[in-house]
Each structure stands twice: as structure tokens, then as C-alpha cells.
């Protein structure tokens, strides 16, 4: 892929400047607000757009892709407004959610056609296409008609078509739909490599596990609003008004539990089948205090793990808010 | 179905309980295949007339029905108000043939209405996994469309009947006079409805896109009418005589003429000088072939 000759001149956006920038973007349909005052800026790396179905993820992606006009606010992609400038698409690769692709074209023909539509001449297009197809591991099926592909294969060929012109920005709408676990891992690997090369990748998903594994940064969308953004561990830490939960293994769980109950920061302890769980309202205070108290009581702590730092707990908390 | 007591079937323990709010089983009587077919028939019939759906679905069927009935009603009203007038231009013999465009539009618009969305939304597999066989499905749909067309044809003729009876000075005598027309009033709609329904469904069953089906059915009616007209005017001899047969409505009217009624004054039928049973046979052929094609299609379609 990186060996392919570059497509005709249009300087790719520098990864330092924000590749995608939204400022107070809202989109409504009559009385229904699909996207409500969202602002963020992306510059490199993999960002996951997470939210329940109907939250506005697809709308947001289509706004960024220039297919919808914001009812208010501005959407800037590669330095230009997203709408009305077809030239912007030189810098953007889009993988749409809908399954449909041209069933009568073969994989190769489709990716080549997309390359040519990006401005490459036929020899360039052919080379770039075979590179892209190799990247998504579709070389074996590339000469079959897309109509014969399985869902996962179609997704992969769509990704190849989006990558063929080496865009600095990639937008993927539910890209892992229909992929089996192995294909998913390979795709995640590919996206991570792309991001490491300096690209900006934004993908949407309602599956926590995918976002957890792949995204360096998460944008949580709930009912059209941006509920949280950033690394999900950081978000967790910011949610100070919800108790953190830790699981502890120590030399004497019961005694430790009794001691810790005396600590103001501890909201509750539970001893369940030999597993000591501690809930604390104040993360910082607790961590400062726990080892001291344990040593005072002569107890050794073997293991202290946060047990609800997963994206799931963050997410369900945010959704319920 | 009576709501189940949540406590029944709940899992309980000392500290909590899980309530089974989900799948509710059904222990009542299960009706068989006949009930399934009957249900499909009635629901399809309702669908043809847009009953149980939004206003937009009702516009075309009821609008066309109005167009079908209004001329008869107007004629009946006029003959009632102006009793000493000429003979009404509408008779039992020429009314249905005169309704040809309305019937064509109705079939073209509503045949796809009852079969296309099932294919488009891939629900055929749901239908076929029940007591309903593939043929049952096709026959139920055919029955529903034919019944709808039957009603569409019947009502105007009834209006003519009522008009003739009620407008007369002596109602009872007029009733007796008109009684001889009853076989035609009840039978002619049947002769028109069944072949048209078969023809329309045979075409509509082949595509899940409603608009294409509508276009195809209309195209068939338009082209056959146009060609029949051209052949009638432009050619002589055998071709000129049988040319009008390309128009299905000519066939249907001929069958009606043969079995139940008389030839209206402007009819192309006398000019064709064909033995009348031929019309009957052709009408039957349209119904049989159309029905057969529909059944074949549903036997073969992937569900």
C-alpha cells in the first residue's frame, strides 16, 4: 500500500492540524434532534464513536462525510467545510454501513474503479487496487463477482476501496458488521497500523468490546449529545460521584475489611465467597490510604484491582444518566 | 391472551426472584390449514381496499371504486328525476366493458399491493413455515383479488338495477321485469373478475418492486389495447377479425355476451364473426394460464 505511487496532487492534510473538526454541530429533522450541539476535534489515531442504536452515530458520520448539512454549527474536514467541496474526498476514505455494493463487478474491478474515480490513471489504479486488496486479505476472491461474496467479504472489499487512494482520514460506519472474530482481529490490526502511520481514523460501533479493543479515544454519543470523550479509563476516573469498585486479595480479607470500614473514603465492603470487594466514593483518597492501613494491621495485600473500569461500566453509567 | 401472573414460573431464592416476563406460551386450540387460508384471504382482501391502513392506501382503490359507481348512480338519479327521458346510455350489457380502464388501473395498482411487499420484505418464509402451503398462499391471494374485482363490478350493476326498479312508477312490476337481469348482474362480474385477477397476479408475483409490477401490468393492458385497435382498423381478412382478441377485455365481454347477456350496440364483437364459445374458452384460458403461472411462481420462488 505504501509502495503505491501517490495519486495526483492534493497535499494531504498534515496530521498535526485537526483533520476533522466539529464546532457546535446540530442536526434536526423537524422536531426531532438527531445531533445536539456536538463539538470535538480529531487529529490522528483511532477514535471510536460509541452509542446505542438511534443515538446519532450514523448521522454524525454522514455529517462529517459531507452527506448531510448541519442545521447549525460547522463541520470542517481537512481544512475545508465538509459539504460542497467534492475535492475534500481526496483526503477521505469512507466505508458506508449499507451492505450494497455493485454485485456485477468483481472485487478487483470495483476497487480499481474506485481508484480511478479518485483520479488515478489505469496503471496506477491497478497497482493501488491490488495493494489495497492485499491489505484486507481479499486476494483470493478478488476475481469473483461481489454478488457472490459473504457479508464479511463485502465489508473487507469496501475497506479496500476506501484505502486505495491512501487517504489521511478514514471514516468507517459499523465496519465490523458481519465479520467473524478472525477477520475482526485482522481488520483491527490493519486499522491500528494505519493510525500508527499518522492517519485519523473514526469508526462507529455499538459493540463495546470492539471499541474497547481498538480505540485510543472514545466519543460516547447518547441521544444525540456527546456524553463523554477521551480515553475511557480517564472518563472513569472523572466520574467521581460514582463509587469505584476494587477487588482485593490479601493475607487476611476479613480483618482488612474490618479495618477499611473505618476509612471515611470507603463506601462499602463485601466479602463474597472469599472475594473481598471494596467500594469507594473517593478514588484518590482510598488509594493513598489503603496500603498504610493494611500495613498497620499487619496484613499483606497480594492483589488490588479496579473491577469496573471496563468501558461497559462507563458506558452503562453514561447511558443511564 | 390473559396476562400471566408474574409469580408463576418465577425463580425464587431467599434473597431475590427472577420473573419470567418474556416468552408466553399458548395452550389454546390451534386452528388448521383452512383457517390459515381464510385468514390470509380476508386480510388480503382488506389490504386491496386499504382497510386497516393509512388514508393514503385507501385513495386509489376507493377512488377508482367511486369512478366505477358514479356514472351508474348518476344515470339512475337522472332517470328517477326525469322519468320521461330516452333510454339510459348505461346498460348491463355495456357497463363493464366501458369500465375497462378503471378495471385495468385497479388491477395494476392493487395486485402489486398484496403480493409485492411480502416478497420485498422476505416474509414468504414466515408464511410457508406455517400450515399454509405455497399453493394455498397463491390461491388465497388470487381469491382475494378476484373477490375485490367482483365487488368492483357488482356494485355499479346493482346500482343500475336499483335505479331501474326504484325509478319506475310501479316498483313491484319493475322488480319483476328486472329479475331476468339478475343472472347477468351476478355472473358478469365473475367473468370479468377471475381472469383479470389471474392475469394481474401472474405479472405482479414476479417482482418485489411494486412500481415495476404496476408498470408492467399497465404496459400489458395498454399495448394489447393499442395493437388490437390497430389490427382492427388496419387489416382485413382473418387478421382483422381476430385482431381485437388481443384485448383481454374484448375476450371477457365476448364471454359475457355468450353466456349471460346481449351484445351492446358499439361492440366490436359482431364484426369478428366468431363462434361465441370461443370467447368463453379464451376467457377460461386467461384465468387458467394466469392462475397456473401464479401458482408456478410461488412454488418456485425462493423463500
Amino acid at each position: 500500500m505504501t509502495a503505491a505511487p501517490a495519486p495526483p496532487p492534493a497535499a494531504p492534510a498534515s496530521p498535526r492540524a485537526a483533520a476533522v473538526e466539529l464546532a457546535n454541530v446540530s442536526r434536526w429533522y423537524g422536531n426531532v434532534v438527531a445531533v445536539n450541539d456536538i463539538s470535538f476535534a480529531l487529529a490522528g489515531g483511532v477514535t471510536g464513536l460509541l452509542g446505542p442504536n438511534g443515538a446519532g452515530k450514523s448521522t454524525l458520520l454522514h455529517l462529517i462525510a459531507g452527506f448531510l448539512a448541519p442545521s447549525s454549527g460547522t463541520v470542517t474536514v481537512a481544512g475545508q467545510p465538509a459539504r460542497g467541496h467534492p475535492d475534500m474526498y481526496r483526503h477521505v476514505g469512507l466505508v458506508p454501513e449499507r451492505e450494497a455494493v455493485y454485485p456485477f463487478l468483481t472485487g478487483t474491478m470495483f476497487v480499481r474503479a474506485m481508484a480511478r474515480l479518485q483520479g488515478m490513471d489505469p496503471p496506477q489504479a491497478a497497482e493501488a487496487a491490488s495493494g489495497a486488496i492485499g491489505l484486507v486479505d481479499m486476494a483470493a476472491a478478488q476475481d469473483r463477482a461481489i454478488g457472490t461474496y459473504s457479508k464479511g467479504m463485502r465489508q473487507r472489499i469496501k475497506v479496500a476501496a476506501a484505502l486505495v487512494h491512501d487517504p489521511p482520514i478514514l471514516l468507517l460506519d459499523e465496519p465490523f458488521n458481519g465479520m467473524d472474530p478472525r477477520q475482526r482481529l485482522q481488520m483491527m490490526d490493519l486499522l491500528r497500523r494505519m493510525a500508527a502511520e499518522g492517519r485519523t481514523i473514526l469508526f462507529s460501533s455499538h459493540i463495546l468490546e470492539e471499541v474497547e479493543r481498538l480505540a485510543q479515544r472514545v466519543l460516547v454519543i447518547v441521544a444525540g449529545r456527546l456524553a463523554a470523550s477521551g480515553d475511557f479509563r480517564e472518563i472513569r476516573r472523572l466520574m467521581t460521584d460514582r463509587p469505584h469498585t476494587f477487588t482485593v486479595r490479601s493475607s487476611d480479607d476479613r480483618a482488612l475489611a474490618a479495618t477499611l470500614l473505618g476509612v471515611p473514603a470507603v463506601a462499602g465492603v463485601a466479602l463474597d465467597d472469599g472475594l473481598l470487594t471494596i467500594r469507594t466514593a473517593d478514588f484518590g483518597d482510598f488509594t493513598r490510604v489503603v496500603s498504610g492501613r493494611a500495613r498497620q494491621a499487619g496484613i499483606s495485600i497480594y492483589e488490588l484491582l479496579p473491577s469496573d473500569e471496563s468501558l461497559e461500566s462507563v458506558f452503562s453509567y453514561l447511558v443511564r444518566r | 391472551m390473559t396476562p400471566r401472573d408474574p409469580a408463576v414460573g418465577a425463580r425464587e431464592s431467599a434473597t431475590g426472584a427472577i420473573y419470567d416476563l418474556g416468552y408466553q406460551s399458548y395452550d389454546g386450540p390451534r386452528l388448521g390449514r383452512r383457517a390459515a387460508v381464510a385468514t390470509l384471504y380476508w386480510s388480503s382482501l382488506r389490504q386491496v381496499f386499504g382497510l386497516g391502513r393509512s388514508g393514503r392506501a385507501k385513495i386509489i382503490p376507493w377512488g377508482l371504486s367511486a369512478f366505477a359507481v358514479i356514472p351508474a348512480a348518476v344515470a339512475a338519479a337522472i332517470s328517477a328525476l326525469v322519468p320521461v327521458g330516452g333510454a339510459s346510455p348505461f346498460t348491463y350489457d355495456n357497463y363493464l366493458f366501458g369500465m375497462a380502464s378503471i378495471l385495468a388501473l385497479f388491477v395494476a395498482a392493487q395486485a402489486p399491493e398484496i403480493v409485492s411487499s411480502d416478497q420485498r420484505n422476505n416474509v414468504l418464509s414466515l408464511y410457508f413455515s406455517h400450515a399454509l402451503s405455497r399453493s394455498d398462499y397463491a390461491l388465497a391471494k388470487l381469491g382475494a383479488l378476484a373477490s375485490a374485482l367482483y365487488l368492483l363490478c357488482l356494485v355499479p350493476l346493482l346500482v343500475l338495477f336499483l335505479g331501474a326498479v326504484l325509478a319506475a312508477a310501479d316498483v313491484v312490476e319493475a322488480f319483476g321485469d328486472q329479475l331476468e337481469n339478475v343472472p347477468q348482474i351476478l355472473g358478469a362480474p365473475l367473468i370479468y373478475a377471475v381472469p383479470l385477477a389471474a392475469l394481474g397476479l401472474a405479472i405482479a408475483a414476479y417482482t418485489p418492486r411494486r412500481a415495476y409490477a404496476t408498470g408492467a401490468i399497465i404496459a400489458v393492458f395498454i399495448v394489447t389495447a393499442a395493437i388490437a385497435g390497430i389490427l382492427e382498423q388496419a387489416t382485413t381478412g382473418m387478421v382483422g377479425r381476430i385482431g381485437p382478441l388481443l384485448n383481454p377485455f374484448v375476450i371477457l365481454d365476448g364471454a359475457r355476451d355468450w353466456l349471460l347477456g346481449d351484445t351492446p350496440p358499439d361492440s366490436p364483437i359482431p364484426g369478428m364473426r366468431l363462434a361465441m364459445p370461443i370467447f368463453g374458452a379464451l376467457a377460461l384460458a386467461i384465468a387458467a394460464i394466469g392462475g397456473g403461472v401464479t401458482l408456478w411462481r410461488y412454488r418456485r420462488v425462493q423463500a
Binding site: V92, P96, Y102 | -
Partner: protein, 244 residues
């Protein structure tokens, strides 16, 4: 004109089923002409041929062909969801639209004119003194105008096929028969007027209802307006996601 888009559109439009059905329709017209030739009064063959070309060709075949190709050119891509692949490219929307329009119009012209020419030749037993060529050319022009009209329609409503059928049947069929004024805005009448102007035949054989000049002006306006409207709608088109 973008050759890649043209290629894809061509492949989409000339799908096997569609092409076969339309050629069948054309074949019917040719068959009728043949029958009329064989069984009809040959002294009036010109008149009958003109009748076939006008009533089966211009009135039925041409609009149906243009309807299928016109609404399929962009409409089907928008419906299926493949339009995003073309729109998310650094290509001006004008180019995209004009390319698709050209391909659709080309297909319409081909599939409508070929049977017209053949039927005309058969029916008139030769070129019929300009009748056949005149009608064929007029059908070509009419097909282009119709196609542009239906492409624009497909960008205005998702039910373009139904509205297009309504236009052809109700406006051009029913109303034009009843109200002479509507004929000015009927592409069918424009085409017949072109045919009248382009053929040399006497009025007894064939006469159009509309003056050629009116047809040229209004028909041309329709063509230009439809194209411009289509380009503007494609430029401003909004595509929402399936799920939010």
C-alpha cells in the same frame, strides 16, 4: 463525462431481465407492423405504419423505455445505497449527473429507435418516403427529453416510477385527449410534432397536433430545465444513515 461512471451505469441499466423485456416490447411492435403489412390494405400502408409508430412507438414504447432507464440511472443507486461510492469522490456532481444522463439517454434512444426503425421499414415496405427516418429521428429526440425528465423526477421523489407512469398515462394520455392546452406540455406531442416536421408525408397519412416550433421551444425548455434541476438536486442531495 466520466468513463468509469459511464461503464458502471451502463452495466446497471442493461441488466439482462430489463433489456430482454424491453426488447420484447419492441419486438411486439415490429411483429404488429409485419402483420399489418401482410394482412392489411397495402395502398394505405403508409398511413397504418404511421399509426403504429405513433400509437405503439411514440405513445407506449418510447415513454416506458425512457421511464425505466431514466429512473434507474440514479434512482436505483440511491435506493440501493451504492450512490455513496460515486458521491464520495473528488468529482463534480455535474459531471456525475451528465454522465449518467448521457448513458441513460443513449440506452433509451437505442432501445426505442431500433424497433421503431424496423417496424417502420416493415410496415411501409421501405423507407416510406421519409416516414421511417423522420419517426426514428423524432423518437430519438423524444427519448432524450423523456429520459432527462425522468432522471430529474428520480431525484425529486423516491416514487419516481409511479409519478412518471402517472404523467404518461394521465397527463399525456387522458388529459391531452380532453384538454388541448395540456398538449403543449406533453413530450409525446412534442415528439409527434418533430415527426411531422421531419417527415414529408401528406396530412392524410399523419398529422401532429402541435406546431413544430412550439414543440422545439417547449421541448427544449423541458430538456434544459430537467437537466438543470437534476444537477442542482444531486449537488444538494442529503443521504442519511440507515440507523442513527
Amino acid at each position: 463525462m466520466n468513463p468509469v461512471i459511464a461503464g458502471i451505469t451502463l452495466r446497471q441499466l442493461l441488466s439482462r431481465r430489463r433489456t430482454i423485456l424491453l426488447l420484447l416490447l419492441g419486438g411486439v411492435m415490429v411483429l404488429v407492423a409485419l402483420i399489418v403489412r401482410l394482412a392489411g390494405d397495402t395502398s394505405r400502408s403508409d398511413e397504418f405504419t404511421a399509426g403504429i409508430l405513433a400509437n405503439v412507438g411514440v405513445a407506449t414504447l418510447m415513454p416506458l423505455v425512457a421511464l425505466l432507464f431514466g429512473t434507474g440511472a440514479i434512482g436505483s443507486e440511491l435506493e440501493d445505497g451504492t450512490a455513496v461510492f460515486l458521491l464520495a469522490k473528488p468529482i463534480s456532481r455535474t459531471t456525475i449527473l451528465l454522465t449518467k444522463l448521457a448513458v441513460a439517454a443513449g440506452c433509451s434512444v437505442l432501445i426505442a429507435c431500433l424497433p421503431t426503425f424496423l417496424a417502420g421499414m416493415l410496415g411501409a415496405g421501405g423507407l416510406g418516403g421519409g416516414l421511417v427516418l423522420g419517426f426514428t429521428l423524432a423518437t430519438a429526440i423524444g427519448s432524450i427529453i423523456y429520459t432527462a425528465l425522468f432522471v430529474a423526477l428520480s431525484l425529486i421523489t423516491s416514487r419516481a416510477l409511479v409519478f412518471g407512469l402517472g404523467y404518461v398515462l394521465v397527463w399525456e394520455g387522458l388529459l391531452s385527449g380532453l384538454f388541448a392546452g395540456t398538449r403543449t406540455f406533453s413530450v409525446r406531442q412534442h415528439t409527434l410534432a418533430f415527426a411531422d416536421a421531419l417527415t414529408d408525408v401528406p396530412g392524410s397519412v399523419f398529422r401532429a397536433e402541435l406546431e413544430p416550433l412550439t414543440a422545439v421551444i417547449v421541448g427544449g425548455l423541458v430538456l434544459v430545465a430537467a437537466t438543470v434541476i437534476a444537477i442542482r438536486r444531486l449537488t444538494a442531495i442529503e443521504i442519511a444513515g440507515e440507523t442513527a
